[in-house]
């Protein structure tokens, strides 16, 4: 079983569209959406939720006003400015470090564990799908990503799947690191812009930092062919294989509006053929 994670550094370059295409093309796989705070893959896969569980992670301080004598020690110690002048805790600012609860001489502070999101295991026409929804304003997205991946791997092992295909999130921080550590390949989708190249460079360096093999796709390459060449040169000098280039195509948006993967919506289009070719390369190069 191989784990493929789709990343980009820069947002909006086409991660979910590509993952959706692979959902249509790959056989015997488990799909996972690790972009837990702005998840979109479900809009293409139309999951039927089979299992739902609370995401429990971290705690928040709660001050019992009856026990509190307003000595102010907690406010003094809290480095996250989470306790107000009237001794209420701002749950968004609270990092759940327990410092205040451990230090309070009145023992007026308890740490409470509340669900911070939900995790789902679903059935889709493309196969099993693990996804999640981080609660509004919650942190610890990295931990939720790890749980989603773990669940997808469990299912994959049970079903003897060939692939775990993961839709990642933009950026290079906590949730991205959680989604790529130990994966067999990080597939980077970029676009031929200065920002695209700058951000691809940072995500590629991050993947190398964690020893994850990298491959790359250039999306909308024809919007600036010169910049596309630059990205290809960059890849050549960094020993990264460019699996393919996709032309800008308004059909992609139409497919999305219709809630379909591009392969379902326009199977014979140029972009679908290009994605098919990319998927075949992934099969031969990784599996």
């Amino acid at each position: 079983m191989k784990e493929l994670v789709i990343l980009s550094g820069k947002g909006g370059t086409g991660k979910t569209i590509t993952t959706g295409a692979f959902a249509s093309l790959a056989k015997n796989k488990v799909l996972a959406d690790c972009d837990v705070d702005a998840a979109d893959l479900h809009l293409l896969l139309k999951p039927e939720i089979k299992e739902e569980s609370d995401f429990l992670s971290g705690t928040e301080a709660v001050i019992d006003k009856n026990l509190c004598n307003e000595c102010g020690l907690c406010r003094e110690l809290c480095r996250f400015d989470a306790i107000s002048e009237d001794f209420t805790v701002n749950p968004i600012a609270c990092e759940g470090c327990d410092f205040c609860a451990n230090a309070c001489p009145q023992k007026a502070i308890t740490m409470q564990r509340n669900p911070k999101g939900k995790q789902f295991v679903s059935e889709t026409k493309f196969g099993p799908f693990v996804h999640a929804k981080l609660g509004i304003g919650e942190d610890n997205s990295g931990k939720l990503v790890s749980q989603v991946r773990k669940k997808a791997n469990e299912i994959g092992k049970k079903l003897k799947s060939d692939w775990i295909i993961i839709d990642g999130s933009p950026g290079i921080g906590c949730p991205v690191i959680a989604s790529m550590g130990g994966a067999d390949c990080a597939l980077i989708i970029t676009e031929p812009t200065m920002s695209g190249l700058h951000d691809a460079d940072r995500i590629i360096k991050t993947a190398k930092h964690f020893n994850v093999p990298v491959k790359l796709i250039i999306n909308k390459y024809d919007l600036n062919p010169e910049m596309s060449d630059k990205i290809e040169d960059y890849c050549k000098s960094n020993d990264i294989s460019v699996l393919g280039k996709l032309a800008f195509d308004k059909t992609v948006v139409e497919a999305m509006v219709n809630g379909k993967t591009i392969i379902e919506y326009a199977p014979e289009s140029e972009i679908s053929n290009a994605l098919r070719e990319i998927w075949n390369k992934i099969n031969t190069e990784i599996l």
């Binding site: 702005a38 705690t59 470090c97 410092f99 304003g137 921080g173 200065m194 920002s195 700058h198 948006v253």
Partner: protein, 291 residues
């Protein structure tokens, strides 16, 4: 209420406008930098510290670069009696105490300071761990402050907080926020006078915008929506905004010239000068909404 960095009544001229989106790649940096260019005299703060791009368009002359740290514990083993208290009070399991050794997992540490406080033997002192750096610079009358997270570093929020500490008084501050709706985005938009949500009229754009709307409502930050590439997609975003009474403050239709300029690191205003007036109008509109 969200804590405000400054009381806008006493410092009328200090303004913080954040530019956010749920979905990535909708045009946050485009709006932030073009707004800054149109205003002429403003301070732009790049809080997308994982993938900062504002500098590509602003092209500031960098005048200073300083590292940003978080405090992590260092154990003096000659003073330590391996009592285990530090590990017990660490909520992040960043310290493990063995019979004759103490292990510190620095990347798990959130820098809360509890271990040092509770150590009876005074064997713990906090040292700095660099997580990234902040660059400041200028381009004409534009001031620039940008954070950059180190490669391999997971925690962006403390760096974003540091960037935001550089907000300038008696000035318009424009914050380029990271995508998403989790802690980084919240850190970036907190204490803004107004948040501009940049979206695209697609199902993905709308789905993620609704999540951002929920966050901004929870934070009690007033906001409006800019629809970018407004003619590519469907009309559900407009319908949603109307139903929810969310003002649509600007629409930018798809234009290959804009896409081309963007790809070369040029502003829209440079490529299509008629946009200068549109961004000035946007600024006037934002000022009115804030006042």
């Amino acid at each position: 209420m969200t804590p405000r960095l400054f009381d806008s009544k006493t410092l009328l001229l200090t303004m913080i406008i954040s530019i956010a989106s749920g979905k990535g790649g909708t045009g946050k940096t485009t709006v932030a930098t073009n707004l800054a260019f149109a205003i002429g005299k403003a301070h732009i703060l790049d809080c997308d510290v994982e993938e900062p791009n504002s500098h590509i368009f602003i092209k500031p002359e960098i005048t200073s670069k300083s590292p940003v740290y978080i405090p992590v514990p260092e154990i003096d083993k000659s003073k330590c009696d391996f009592c285990g208290k530090c590990a017990e009070v660490c909520a992040y399991k960043a310290i493990a105490v063995l019979k004759t050794d103490v292990l510190v997992f620095k990347e798990l540490c959130h820098g809360c300071g509890a271990c040092e406080y509770f150590c009876q033997k005074k064997a713990i002192k906090e040292v700095n761990r660099t997580i990234g750096y902040i660059e400041t610079g200028e381009k004409g009358d534009l001031l620039f402050t940008g954070g950059k997270l180190n490669i391999g570093e997971a925690m962006a929020a403390p760096l974003i907080k540091e960037v935001k500490n550089r907000v300038k008084l008696q000035m318009t501050n424009i914050i380029d926020a990271p995508p998403g709706t989790s802690c980084s985005m919240i850190e970036a938009v907190t204490a803004s006078d107004f948040c501009v949500l940049v979206t695209e009229p697609t199902p993905f754009g709308l789905n993620d915008m609704i999540l951002s709307v929920e966050v901004l409502r929870k934070l009690h930050i007033p906001f409006g929506v800019i629809i970018n590439r407004s003619d590519l997609g469907d009309d559900k975003t407009v319908t949603y905004c109307e139903k929810e009474n969310i003002p649509i403050i600007m629409k930018i239709p798809f234009d290959k010239n804009i896409a081309m300029a963007y790809s070369q690191g040029k502003s829209i205003i440079e490529a299509l000068p008629e946009y200068k007036q549109k961004f000035i109008a946007l600024y006037e509109d934002l000022k009115e909404r804030i006042e």
